[in-house]
Symmetry: none
Subunit: 231 residues, 2 copies
DNA sequence: TTTTTTCTTGAACATTTTGTAAATTCCGGC
DNA sequence: GCCGGAATTTACAAAATGTTCAAGAAAAAA
């Protein structure tokens, strides 16, 4: 779930500073001190974002960018020194998503990072709220409403329900659910899912005819939604 | 507490100049280089004032203005190039509060900014004051009123409460709160938030049924507001 | 400077949630 | 009906998370 950044910067001080701030913001940070290392790290780690210094030994930032762009549309923010000849149009044409002039305010950089990530993010609705007959699943406030009444629900349970209810009638295997709700790096018993399903069923049983958490024998579970006549 | 300006300007030199002067005047300055970014920043940061260049790539100043005006009455000063066809009447009709022709004297711009801010300062709108059942949180005077009675509250506590109460029911993680209340450049332990929450709870417990500082297990905290029947 | 207040932190403690194992029940094919 | 794999249930243990306290640091006020 944590987003990852690849920082390509040969100045050790700047790199460390960036690491410190970015990690505090919850990013997973990797640092590459030169272009070659950057390309290697890039193909290895597939980061969600690249901060790319223009002035680098051997292979410079533009070189790295063009190589990266051969295979990827990952968001890239260029770091350029003040006074460095930098043609914005040209720079953005080469495929950078934004640029920041050194010395920069950390605050501004963070704002730009967020802007770029938001811009390149899928046009998903940001409201995390689903509603069905007598049921509201709200991941903004982490609330589950059954018949308009709040039901205390632990986070994992709610996330599981939300995830399944996002695609009604789609069947999920236990392993899919473990990957998608617990995270791909979670190693656990698939019975865990059963137990959470059971706990959800306790909270939801008999509430509505229109939906239910159904078992698909030999496969997994689904949030089943029965269509009613559309008005 | 500092007033904030969103500068929408694609010329980096002008933007930097504006930043310098405005910051010297005590403004918190954000810069957006194009219309899209401007709209994003606007909805994110809710600035007290916008300086809006007419000539922008892709979505121009008028486009930005009309989108902004759909939801907000924030004061806007347009920056127009000399010779640019600009119809004052028309321009002000579109919802701008004032306009300045480039190249402009910084002095004049500042004068206009102050004039506009004075003119548009609504008695209630810009007040940093929130009111709920038996509770008033006033960040103008740094006062907390419970049942109409002043409760001595240290600044951080009050800011924290205010921040959470600005968006009732939204869950904030501890890190979000540290970033947004303490500042993005604050590096501290997230237990700090817990302690402040605890002290707020001591002051607020049992005051009203309609709201509460709730823990969202595994996620963070929220200022929960229970809807009552609207009158 | 001294005093007072506020803020931060770490540790002990409490609580809630989550995971696991094992017993039990269910389902579908033979 | 019987069997074996699959799902459910239960109870418990473990892990994760939250709360509280108190001491000391830092900041503000006097």
């Amino acid at each position: 779930m944590a987003r990852s950044v690849l920082v390509v910067e040969d100045d050790h001080n700047i790199a460390d500073l960036l690491r410190m701030y970015l990690e505090k913001e919850g990013f997973n940070v990797r640092i590459a001190p030169d272009g070659g290392t950057a390309l290697q790290e890039f193909s290895r780690a597939a980061p969600d974002l690249m901060l790319l210094d223009v002035m680098l030994p051997v292979l410079d930032g533009w070189g790295v960018l063009s190589r990266v762009r051969e295979t990827s549309k990952v968001p890239v923010i260029m770091l350029t020194a003040k006074g460095e000849t930098f043609d914005k149009i040209n720079g953005l044409n080469m495929g950078a998503d934004d640029y920041v002039v050194k010395p920069f305010e950390m605050k501004e950089l963070l704002a730009r990072i967020n802007a770029v990530l938001r811009r390149t993010e899928l046009p998903a609705d940001t409201r995390k709220k689903l509603a069905f007959d007598k049921l509201v699943i709200d991941l903004d406030s982490y609330e589950l409403l059954v018949n308009g009444q709040k039901i205390d629900t632990p986070p994992k349970e709610l996330e599981l329900l939300y995830h399944m209810a996002e695609s009604p009638n789609r069947v999920y295997t236990r392993n899919q659910l473990l990957d998608e709700v617990w995270g791909f790096d979670y190693f656990g018993d698939s019975r865990t899912v059963d137990v959470h399903i059971k706990r959800l069923r306790e909270k939801l049983e008999g509430v509505s005819e229109q939906w239910a958490l159904k078992t698909v024998w030999g496969v997994g579970y689904k949030f089943e939604l029965t269509e009613t006549a559309p008005q």
